[in-house]
Symmetry: D2
Subunit: 341 residues, 4 copies
């Protein structure tokens, strides 16, 4: 098919597969030509063929070496992101990289440096900015409808904790979970975080504590524009995925409630009950995943700014590291205290 | 206490007691001086004393004969209303009469004739017009906010059926229950009913059918201004008292939801649940009962039109009789088909 | 592609295009091979090519003659449906036909006869049964959660009236609009309609009245199982597409509210406001259209009963004709009064 | 009237008048016999007479000296509370004291010591515990329905800032406004606060900053039982009084939304809008004020524990002082750091 943007996808795990099928079904101007996975399996091959993806490989370099391919999606494990970004940048491929870019500021800075030198575009996978509810809140803030933002309130709770094995390598709650909320807070406040105070506890599962992490946390943010923020996280909400954002300002407040599978209310002797929130991120952010890749390809097609930059990825990481430092030292931490290398 | 409006109450049943204590607590310009009940009991005497009511009697005529008393509340059994109105009118007492005025058009017409001749005020106890939710809907209609009313939708369901003994004498669902909805429909439409079609069924309790009544009904109304209405009634909603009104017009719709004891939402594995509606009319219309007597005394004190006239009582009865006729004959019935005597 | 169900689509208007792209994107086991439209245009050809549909034609017979094709979607104008069903049935193609099958009972009966003789499957396009909200209500009814259905309440209002030209040929409000609600009522009640009373008015646009139709209507339904129903329709709700269903039963009530673009609440000096309902059927039933074709192909693949049969199409039409007769004669009409030819 | 509890009220300002009329109208077992106000005015005298209160005086000592009076309500200015409590205790009067008891720990401790020695009851006016919504949340927590409390979230925003003159003497946002939320947090958590971190800003009115206070604040609480809390306050929410509480636990979450004047939803081209929250505390806590005095007299009549003790008043003050210290020093502060004298 002439004129289509040829795409290579690195990493065929859950999120890699989501992006691949979203591109196949919803991005007519793009075409996935190669999928690379260091652990290529017959299952992945069958899946790729089913989507009409011509080539599969164990070696990402085949993607970088393919002159037809102009866009790379990096969906492999976090520890590989930075190096793959550098390779992709050198190969002049536009990049969509899953979050986090890396768990160390140093490697993220190095990756962004390579991106800057090559002039390619890079978008980081903070998908929640593309959620219909949070985008609507953002519109109301940006349009000035609620006036100057004064308080940003974010509640983010998972239906169940990840495996302990994951907690051990993920960088912990602040870097694998709340980092999404840091991005959301910056997105909604329209301002950068300058100070963080984090309070955490292990109330869900002692094993998480043994792994050196917390499973419940409340963080207070201070923004450059003077606004304040509060984020609460829990690894386990028995009623499902709880994702709410509220921005309070001088002219009003905009609050996004959860999405549910239906609007049906059941009235009975037991009370008036409605559905639990959509179970988890795959259901809640189904459309957001489509919207983020659509926005990415739109930015490429029309040479526009991406909506979530590598810089955003870096800043979110720094806020997360400041939160970890705050928790460890039991005091508010200035963003400027986080070393850039 | 000088200058207070002296009040006599006839009938010390549930509703009579509610009005009495509401006047004592919330109508500082009025004073209940006598309570009459043909079945005077020690219990009533104690209750009256507790409220600081000086006199109790078995004989309503003592109230009519008392020159100090200028206002009478008629809260006795329905079959006594018309005659008591006539006596009160002749004694030049302003009258608050519980609904229905009577189950026959002839007696209501006679009572209203006596009222007209004596020039006293009479307000009929259609309390729902004074409910905060329905009054708010009415304001939105009257102010033109929703444009010309086109569809009036009323849902009215009781938590449990009345005793069969009551059904046998009440005039049935259309005259003891839906008559409130006919008044609400006329109130919200701002226009008179010209045609009624009633469909009924006995789905709750066969004994109600045996008593010659229905326990479930849907009525279609046609108004003089062209608007249409639909009312659904059930004698038994297991989740409690269901009282909703919606007015749809050319510029929008105003819909009143039920009231609940609290706004609390409980999110658990079972779903997201909130309270059932307030259980029954005593809870739901607690403030409406206060507001209606306040409005009545305000109309007297400032010589204003009452908000629910005897004429309203007559028209509501006629709509109810038309509904009974429609159900009996299985066809839409014009209001003009109901004989005025 | 081997093993895929080959599909021919007749009629490339709005709804034909929706089904085509839904099959291409969401029904991997099916493949659209031919699109026929008597008014084939370059625009349609480009669209078809864009979707990877190999053949386009002006002549539906090419589809019936194609031995590869085993499934036909009939999305052409209503007056052609019955004949095309007969042709498709004779050609042994399974059939998905848009609603209504026809505006006359006689032609629908003839079409269903042909279908029966050939033994092919036919599903009629009453898409709302596949809406997430209404399906949830249905689950609660079918599971017995709300007990025996007693009152079915349906509100269905369009954001704006169709062109007068359409009203003139559509069969009118009861056959082009409320017929969806008749299907929904039968679906939710789990019982057949036995009597209909229709009241209509022309309150939105006098031109609709001139065209011999009404634009506002309230219909009372009586079901074989004793339940009662009320449906209200308006051609114009300024706040958007209003699609609500409530089923009240002996153990509770299930009520589906409208869907909105977001859950965001904006609190300001003006009040607490949220989004209007999704604008119209394309937005509200986007997923329902996908679900209905998925269910259709699933029924074919696994030789199951279709979820909306030709019989349903016939019964909905008969209820619609009974409603028209009721409006014309100003009386309740028994379903049995509608002649079967 | 024999057998009634005779009550003296000190301070006939807004809150004193509310308590007086609530006792007159809603506490039949009590009788207000004297009202004292150092600034007695004809207006107060008229008001008292209207309520049937026999005596008015400028001198509170007349109340302490009256052997008939067994209950005193202290509704005068904060700086007089402690001394009046001591006098009342010595005079063996049961005491209801408005919050805060005092702005210094030392004087509160002294007052509570006098109370303990005399053995009278004292209830402090933290009225929000008696709000129907927050009481319902508390029931769900106490009954174990939501499991172990893990996160307590409180939003408390006023419709408009108080006069600067008030801010200057009130002790500031943490002692005049958020102290209610500290009480609510302790009430809902069922545990004492052990650490406080406060972040504040002046975003509403610079004059408040000049007066040495903040008008916007977010506080993080740590409870003895391990739960965490977050409270956000603003002196100005343009949409009205915003009073919400959420308790998240191991088995679910209970969240109280705001109360509004009606449940009516207006759907128009502008959106779907409902009423703003009840404007301010007089409207929102109307019933809570009645409930708290009812509970107080009930505790006296049946010699039960009061529901908000002097100890609660002391602990709330200490949390507030810890919050002020935290804000001043920019670090989390342990409750144990607040000196008890």
């Amino acid at each position: 098919m002439k004129g289509k943007i040829s795409v290579g996808i690195i990493g065929a795990g859950r999120i890699g597969k989501i992006h691949a099928s979203n591109i196949v079904y919803f991005i007519p101007e793009a075409k996935v030509v190669t999928v690379a996975d260091v652990n290529m399996t017959p299952e992945i091959e069958t899946w790729a063929k089913g989507l009409g993806i011509a080539q599969v490989t164990k070696n990402p370099d085949e993607i970088f070496a393919d002159p037809e391919i102009s866009v790379v999606l990096i969906c492999s494990s976090t520890d590989t992101h930075a190096d793959l970004i550098i390779k992709a940048a050198k190969a002049k491929k536009n990049i969509f990289c899953e979050k986090p870019v890396d768990l160390t500021v140093k490697k993220v800075v190095a990756a962004l440096k390579a991106v800057k030198e090559s002039g390619v575009k890079v978008q980081v996978g903070f998908n929640r900015r593309f959620d219909h509810n949070f985008a609507r809140v953002h519109d109301l803030v940006k349009s000035g409808t609620i006036g100057d933002p004064q308080i940003i309130k974010i509640t983010s709770r998972d239906p169940a904790p990840p495996p302990i094995s994951y907690v051990a390598v993920s960088g912990g709650l602040f870097l694998d979970m709340m980092i999404h909320d840091f991005d959301m807070a910056r997105f909604q406040a329209g301002s950068e975080v300058v100070e963080v105070y984090a309070k955490g506890a292990c109330l869900v599962d002692p094993a998480i504590g043994k792994a050196g992490d917390v499973d419940t946390a409340i963080v207070t943010l201070t923004f450059a524009n003077g606004a304040l923020g509060t984020i609460d996280n829990s690894r386990k909400a028995v009623y499902g995925y709880d994702q709410r954002v509220e921005v309070f300002g001088s002219k009003g407040a905009a609050a996004a409630e959860n999405d549910a599978p239906s609007t049906v209310k059941l009235s009975s002797e037991a009370g008036v009950c409605s559905d639990k929130p959509l179970h988890f991120f795959l259901e809640r952010y189904k459309d957001a995943y489509i919207n983020e890749v659509r926005a990415f390809f739109d930015a490429i097609a029309h040479d526009k700014e991406v909506q979530v930059s590598g810089e955003d990825g870096l800043r979110n990481l720094i806020v997360g590291l400041a939160a970890k430092k705050s928790l460890a030292e039991g005091r508010p931490v200035k963003i400027s205290e986080v070393p850039l290398e």
